[in-house]
């Protein structure tokens, strides 16, 4: 298994710094709307192979939606989402499934299978997608559970887990097959400081030791800055800033500073589009 690279000629080919061929995920001109409201209006971003890329942005800007497009659950109205050079929206169903075998995704709400216990949840993708012997599956699952600190919880049912534990189980499940691209939707929410540190190190470690590419969606500017190689800040359907975390923190842009410092008032709107507040409270017809 490996992503198709232009280097397959055998000649050592070193891409220039800015060339897009080195991007594992490539989003260009993305447009998408929901219930008549535009969510993306011409979004462009690229995720470098082997990097940890953070996607930040206010709640409701479409970060989860973007991940759903990268995994082919939603189709863009215009523009393309390419993963490993393949246009996700144009793939046939079996090609899409082949592509997904190389991805892992941590859902924002964990999405554990409620009928199976923790062990079986993590083992599920292995059992369904491979024919490994039981002993190996056991070893694989326990190793992953151990790395998120939940080996002892292997026999519990999802309903018996706390939110943060469920998230860590979902994380073990997302990476159990060592995918080449890992998508994390809010991996830090609901974690205590200790698990948070563990999870942060785990994302970095996984990325470096296994040579993965990671996309981390998060609001936690401080946490994500520790591990991300590159950040994108999305607001109102476009990328409003991108760069290394340090560059963003020192950004002269008011937009980015507002996001980094968490002020409610500023160029990035805190409110979902709404009619005038006073008018609505006073009951005037809209």
């Amino acid at each position: 298994m490996g992503w198709p690279t232009p280097a397959s000629t055998g000649v050592r080919w070193k891409p220039p710094e800015s060339v897009t061929a080195d991007n594992l995920v490539e989003v260009s001109g993305l447009r998408f709307g929901r219930s008549g409201r535009p969510i993306f209006s011409g979004l462009d971003l690229g995720v470098r192979r082997g990097s940890i890329t953070a996607i930040m942005g206010p709640s409701g800007t479409g970060k989860t939606t973007l991940l759903r497009m990268i995994t082919g659950q939603l189709r863009p109205e215009a523009g393309t989402v390419k993963v490993g050079g393949l246009d996700v929206a144009s793939l046939a169903r079996n090609e899409l499934f082949d592509l997904r075998r190389r991805m892992g995704m941590l859902f924002q709400n964990s999405a554990l299978l409620t009928d199976f216990n923790v062990f079986e949840n993590v083992a599920f993708p292995v059992r369904e997608n491979t024919r490994l012997p039981e002993a190996l599956i056991r070893q694989l699952v326990l190793t992953k559970l151990n790395s998120v600190g939940l080996r002892g919880a292997a026999g519990l049912m999802p309903a018996e887990l706390s939110g943060g534990m469920g998230r860590r189980v979902a994380m073990a499940r997302a990476m159990v097959l060592d995918p080449e691209l890992l998508l994390y939707d809010e991996p830090f929410s609901g974690l205590d400081p200790i698990s948070l540190g563990v999870v942060l190190r785990l994302i970095r470690l996984n990325n470096d030791a296994l040579g993965l590419t990671s996309i981390v969606v998060s609001h936690d500017v401080a946490e994500i800055s520790h591990i991300a190689d590159h950040c994108f800040v999305i607001s109102e359907g476009r990328v409003i800033a991108s760069g290394a975390p340090r560059e963003l923190a020192e950004s002269p842009s008011e937009l980015v500073r507002q996001f980094m410092t968490g002020a409610a008032d500023g160029p990035v709107p805190f409110h979902y589009p709404a009619p005038d507040y006073a008018e609505q409270l006073l009951g005037k017809p809209q």
Partner: protein, 255 residues
Amino acid sequence: MTLPLQLWDGLLHSLRKLGAAILFLIEILKQCPAALARPKLISQQVRNSGVLSLIIIMTSAFFVGMVIGLQGYDSLSRLRQEDILGAGVALTLFKELGPVVTALLFAGRAGTSLASEIGLMRATDQLAAMEVMAIDPIRRIIAPRFIGAVISVPLLTAVFNAIGILGAWFIGVQVMGVDNGAFWSQMQEYVDPPDIYEGVLKSFVFGVTAGLVAVFEGYNAPPTAEGVGMATTRTVVTTSILVLIFDYTITAYLL
């Protein structure tokens, strides 16, 4: 909106839904070979929807059998024809009541739980998570449940018929004093293989109907508590109506 317009709208809505259901059935059928290759998943579903419906099916069958026994005895004794009670009961059960009542009970007992289970899986993103893990939910979740229903309903119908006859025998022979030998021999005399085939055909069609409606409603339920609740209700209503329509159609066609 005026009434004719509303009716027209309702009709269009139903037709659109019918089309979607047929496409969904085709999708399921395509995945059936792969699902059949994993008999364990299917036997688990036969257990979930079939075995767990056994109690309600058997209880109902016994009472339905007793009441046909009683009514049949009452009618036949006016004609002094009590001896053919066994034949009358068997024909009623095999051709009509067995398949129909079993399908209706199945929709209420197993169809509802299938629909709400699948609806809840959708609402909690479990189906989406499977998709992303490159596991086709139609193959892994929907097809085994559908096949489970298609296997269960005919089997449950057979159980229903057997217990129903027992109920009728109990009332007719033990309580009302119909001759035991006549009860069974008249049954053998008048029940022909085509009568049995008719029942088997019906129970198979009803199994497909009940299974498809349940998984379709669950799979397409809006991902909310209310949406899942409504899908459950619609499962019973739709299955019941379709079963009665198909029952009439098959009977009319075969006669």
